[in-house]
């Protein structure tokens, strides 16, 4: 679907609004203990820089945003093609322009630290060490040079919204899965548009919460995401980059078992995994196995492993191999519209106690075997109905034609 790529709507330029506040209001607010929203925005804008570099062709913007993280001109931004140039221009809020050099990059988070040629200055900057954590529902501001609207000698744009969710990033750009899978702040402002990446997400006091990321689509819904990487996710990485080093790929942090459990060890055979999301139906159960003893049966749909949803065969395997071979593993199956939970242990010779929460979970429920058999019977019947005509359809036409041909030939002779 090639719909609108960028969302201009809901683009609230709060900065302008704040600048236009009547003087009277500003007077009353100046007496307040906390600074006004305007002060927060202005203070954050001073710590945000515009970056101009490579690009400008085939829809690739030649600009992005960065934030000052030291008084000596360290700039944190996203790693992108924009940085692929010897003439990387960084424009400060006060209008000064510098050519920056890249100190280090973090390929997983796709971040880079730049250094401006400044010594012993006292630039306004965000203090990463003192960054607070945000909560879902908290009001935030996204400060960036999105769409290069602030291309002149003017402060960058501010958008307001709330933190919608704090969630692991599961996103892609085109067919490429984003490398970073840590928690991000999802925001309900249209924060991540072209040029915004590297901008600041701040709270209403102007304190840094996170760094606006590149434009990505959610893997789950395909929708464009608006998000920022929280400070605590990159603060250590920034120290490495500031030291002029490239951050090593930490590798996946998903827990892997030393002696992984397998479905076969539990006695479960799933249906052949032929579709992108083959529903994880149990094809057969090995009689003398943990699954067999626990009463799992063919046609059960294996929907949860240790409470984690497993909507496909591959997800079941993913979940199972995370467990050690000696672990108890809690499995839920759907059978006749009821959720049935069992706990299996591949190495235990005796059946484990049922751990089901409600009455429907009990496998000792005498109704089950009979009911299941009935269901199987019905299923088989339905298959017959559905398949038979299709087969007849194909086969008998061929036969009919063949028969015709066969009979036709003597007639021609």
């Amino acid at each position: 679907m090639s719909g609108t790529r960028r969302r201009y709507s809901k683009l609230l330029l709060v900065a302008l609004a704040a600048l236009c506040l009547p003087d009277a209001l500003r007077l009353t607010q100046s007496t307040a203990t906390a600074g006004s929203l305007h002060d927060s925005i202005r203070s954050a804008q001073r710590k945000v820089v515009k970056i101009y570099g490579a690009g400008g062709v085939s829809g690739l913007e030649a600009y992005q945003t960065g934030i000052l993280i030291s008084a000596e001109g360290h700039v944190l931004t996203v790693q992108s093609y924009v940085l692929d140039t010897d003439d990387l221009a960084v424009v400060l809020d006060d209008g000064r322009k510098f050519t920056a050099e890249i100190l280090g990059v973090d390929p997983v988070r796709e971040l880079a630290v730049l250094k401006l040629p400044i010594e012993n200055d006292s630039l306004p900057h965000f203090n990463l060490a003192a960054a607070p954590l945000a909560k879902v529902g908290e009001r935030v501001l996204a400060i960036s040079n999105l769409f290069n609207i602030a291309g002149g000698d003017e402060p960058v744009s501010a958008l307001q919204g709330v933190v919608s969710a704090i969630s692991p990033l599961d996103a892609r750009r085109g067919s490429h899965q984003a490398a970073f899978h840590g928690n991000v702040y999802i925001v309900d402002a249209a924060a991540n548009n072209p040029g915004a990446a590297g901008g600041a997400l701040v709270n209403w006091r102007g304190e840094l919460l996170g760094l606006l990321g590149k434009e990505l689509r959610s893997s789950a819904t395909g929708a464009w995401l608006h998000y920022a990487i929280p400070v605590d996710q990159f603060v250590a990485s920034v120290e490495t980059m500031e030291a002029g080093r490239t951050v090593a790929d930490a590798g996946t942090n998903s827990s892997t078992a030393t002696d992984p459990l397998s479905l076969a060890a539990l006695g479960i055979v799933l249906v052949p995994d032929i579709l992108p999301r083959t529903p994880p139906y149990i094809d057969s159960v090995i009689a003398d196995s943990a699954a067999g003893r626990a009463g799992l049966r063919p046609d059960d749909l294996l929907v949860l492993v240790e409470g984690e949803p497993t909507a496909s065969c591959s997800l079941v395997v993913d979940q199972v191999i995370r467990r050690e071979s000696f672990d108890d593993v809690r499995i839920s199956v759907l059978r006749g519209g009821k959720l049935v939970e069992v706990t299996l242990n591949a190495e235990a010779a005796e059946p484990l106690d049922e751990t089901g929460e409600d009455e429907s979970s009990s496998l000792e429920d005498s109704g089950y075997p009979a009911e299941s058999n009935d269901l199987n019977g019905d299923d088989a019947g339905m298959e017959d109905l559905e398949d038979a005509p299709a087969e007849a359809d194909e086969a008998t036409i061929d036969e009919a034609v063949d028969a015709d041909d066969a009979e036709a030939e003597p007639a021609v002779e």
């Binding site: 879902v136 309900d188 395909g222 496909s312 008998t396 009979e407």
Partner: protein, 696 residues
């Protein structure tokens, strides 16, 4: 004194405001957090298993989605968008982390919702509905979802943008609404549920199936919709009982015009629709629905769109104009599906062209002549400048036995000059007039017999499904016009389309005469089969004036879907090359050829008037569309007795019948099907069926 007091109050207020102003942001923040905390207990995460990956070429989201608990016994409402993949199994994760299986109770096709029943033995926390009368645009509204993180709802904050959007079905908000929170609640600042978030787009009144993804392209745009929970709760009992709630249809077309400024005047009433049952007629103006005055088409839609099929509306219509105008109170019961359109049948076969009868004697050597005709040159003789320019009405070639026309006393040779109020000059005018009628309608037919004008009252019937006997058609063998005894060997010629690898072979009738019909036979592509077909069909082609066109598949192995493009072009070319009679274009085939014939006929309904298949079931991938007044299509199925496909074929024919098409069945005895073509009797029947396709 008073001034001082006012000043004091002013100052106090100002001082208070200053103090509070500083905390206002904080207070709002707290209020939002409190509202979310109050509402999140009834927001569930839904996971689906199985189903399709794509809908109309669009990839469907496969991640977790959101639902809202609306009753303590486990009814959950969600957006139909979340179930577009038609999942086989559904899991609902309750806010406390417990997983439950769920099943779909029903759908609401008018508001794009799905109702689920969660298996539960204990009471679940149901959402509290917000009283809608107090809600105003500008009020805070918060959209909640549970797709990102099962432990914590996602939050988007905005305001109520408008009420009664989408013709009175939805609240509009500027909070971010997308697949991340479809099915979740839109709540007010007290944590009460205003509505359930759904994608929604205005639906054209005549649109077919409700599209569950329509409106999703507006995601996160500041335009989001929520169906009021108070509405859902008001219909939930009925929903559980009726399973699916459908859009309610009236069955009328409106006079065209700007919908916001044009009065709703009935342009046509669909036969047997709720409006027809209520007695509405063309020209009626709708003036009031359920006590609400209706000024425009838009106002009408605001009154009808929120209703479901089965709802009763009290509608006042005004009929007539000026002093003669009278207001009529009617009651209509909306329906979910309008009955299929059935073409009416008068029972006459029109004369094909006035001049034919005089000329065909010259055409004994038609085959030889037609060979040169194949160069595509036109003969000057059959030009459109008819000798009889003066108005003569529509001449009747034959009257269908036992038809309304027969019963009323019309005869071959009569000329119809008037149908109802309409003057009839030719076949097109008569067809157009009849297309607007239905079986059962009464019609006054005025015809000329010799110089006498006669009036006939007929009650129109349904199109016949029998094939006429030869004797009923005046163009039978007994007519001496053409000598069919000595036709010689059929001369097959070849036709090749530019840029197409396939060739087609054809047999054409003698050049001079009325526009011929076209029979496209989808055979096995072998030359010997084509020869045999030509030999069999030669008499019929000459007598009934029929071009027999036998295309061959591109692949020697047989017909594939790739041949469709070729056949569509071939059809176009043939139409102009022979100036085919548009009422007698038939595509036919046996077995797989018949299946392709079905595919071609359903795709080319604008051109093809008949499909004849021999022992062919409908291909699995084809759906039978509703019959359409302006695209007549007749179905003929020849079935070998005791064929194993019989059951399947009859099921398919039933589908055509239900959709409103005239379906003719011929059963041939098994032992007759001994060659690749057809036995003579069956072939003759097909010929007469084709010859009768221009019946009215």
């Amino acid at each position: 004194m008073r001034f001082l007091l006012s000043l004091a109050i002013c100052l106090t207020t100002a001082g208070y405001a200053a103090a509070a102003g500083a905390d206002l942001d904080e207070l709002e923040q707290q209020a939002i957090a409190a509202a979310v905390a109050a509402a999140e207990k009834s927001v569930v995460q839904i996971r689906t298993i199985g189903g399709i990956d794509q809908l109309e070429g669009q990839s469907l989201a496969q991640g977790p989605t959101t639902g809202s608990i609306i009753s303590e016994d486990g009814l959950v409402v969600s957006s139909a968008f979340n179930f577009a993949q038609q999942p086989t199994s559904i899991l609902v994760r309750l806010p406390d982390g417990r997983q439950r299986s769920a099943r779909i109770v029903g759908r609401d096709d008018n508001r794009m919702l799905v109702l689920l029943q969660v298996e539960t033995s204990d009471e679940l926390p149901a959402a509290e509905p917000a009283p809608l009368d107090a809600v105003r645009p500008g009020d805070w509204s918060i959209a909640l979802g549970r797709s990102f993180n099962p432990e914590e709802v996602s939050v988007s904050v905005g305001v109520v943008s408008a009420l009664n959007r989408m013709h009175g079905r939805a609240i509009q908000t500027d909070a971010n609404v997308s697949a991340t929170n479809y099915g979740g609640p839109l709540i007010d600042l007290e944590g009460r549920v205003l509505g359930i978030l759904v994608p929604m787009a205005p639906q054209a009144p005549g649109a077919g199936e409700a599209n569950v993804t329509a409106g999703s392209e507006f995601y996160d745009s500041g335009i989001g919709f929520a169906v009021p929970l108070s509405h859902i709760l008001s219909v939930v009992d009925r929903w559980v009982e009726e399973v699916d709630l459908e859009r309610g249809l009236l069955g009328i077309g409106l006079k065209p015009g700007n919908p916001h400024a044009t009065a709703p005047i009935v342009a046509n009433v669909w036969p047997r629709s709720p409006a027809a049952v209520a007695g509405w007629k063309t020209g009626d103006r709708i003036v009031e629905i359920n006590g609400v005055k209706i000024e425009t088409q838009t106002a009408l839609r605001f009154q009808t769109t929120p209703h479901y099929a089965g709802d009763k509306l009290a509608v006042t219509i005004r009929r007539g104009s000026g002093d003669a105008a009278k207001e009529i109170e009617t009651e209509v019961t909306l329906t979910d599906k309008l009955p299929s359109f059935l073409h009416p049948f008068l029972g006459v076969l029109p004369m094909r062209s006035a001049k034919t009868a005089d000329e065909p004697k010259d055409d004994h050597d038609g085959a030889a002549k037609s060979a040169e005709d194949a160069t595509g040159e036109k003969k000057p003789s059959d030009e459109k400048a008819k000798p009889d320019e003066k108005f003569e009405g529509l001449a009747i070639r034959a009257v269908w036995p036992d038809s309304p026309a027969d019963k009323a006393g019309l005869r071959a040779g009569d000329r119809i000059i008037r149908l109802g109020e309409k003057k009839i000059g030719d076949l097109d005018a008569a067809t157009a007039e009849l297309n607007a009628k239905s079986p059962g309608d009464e019609l006054k037919v005025v015809a000329k017999r010799e110089d006498e004008e006669l009036e006939f009252d007929v009650e129109l019937a349904e199109l016949p499904e029998n094939v006429l006997d030869a004797v009923d058609l005046n163009a039978g063998d007994d007519k001496d016009a053409i000598d069919l005894s000595d036709l010689g060997d059929p001369k097959l010629q070849t036709l090749k389309l530019p840029e197409m690898s396939q060739t087609a072979r054809y047999l054409q009738p003698p050049a001079n005469g009325p526009a011929p019909g076209l029979l496209i036979w989808l055979g096995d592509g072998k030359p010997e089969t084509a020869e045999a077909l030509a030999a069999d069909w030669q008499r019929t082609c000459v007598r009934d004036r029929l071009v027999l066109l036998i295309p061959e598949p591109a692949d020697a192995g047989g017909w594939t879907n790739d041949d469709m493009e070729y056949l569509a072009r071939l059809l176009q070319t043939a139409g102009s090359r022979w100036r085919i009679d548009p009422r007698r274009i038939v595509v036919a085939g046996e077995g797989k050829g018949g299946q392709l014939a079905y595919a071609l006929a359903l795709r080319g309904r604008k051109l093809i008037r008949g499909v004849a298949v021999i022992d062919s079931p409908l291909p699995r991938t084809l759906e039978v569309p509703e019959n359409n007044p302006n695209e007549r299509l007749a179905v003929l199925s020849v079935e070998t007795q005791n064929t194993p496909l019989s059951l399947l074929i009859r099921k398919d024919l039933k589908k055509f019948d239900v959709a409103g098409y005239p379906v003719t069945q011929i059963v041939r005895r098994g032992e007759e099907s001994r060659d690749a073509t057809l036995d003579g009797a069956t072939r003759a029947k097909i010929g007469r069926w084709i010859d009768g396709l221009d019946r009215l």
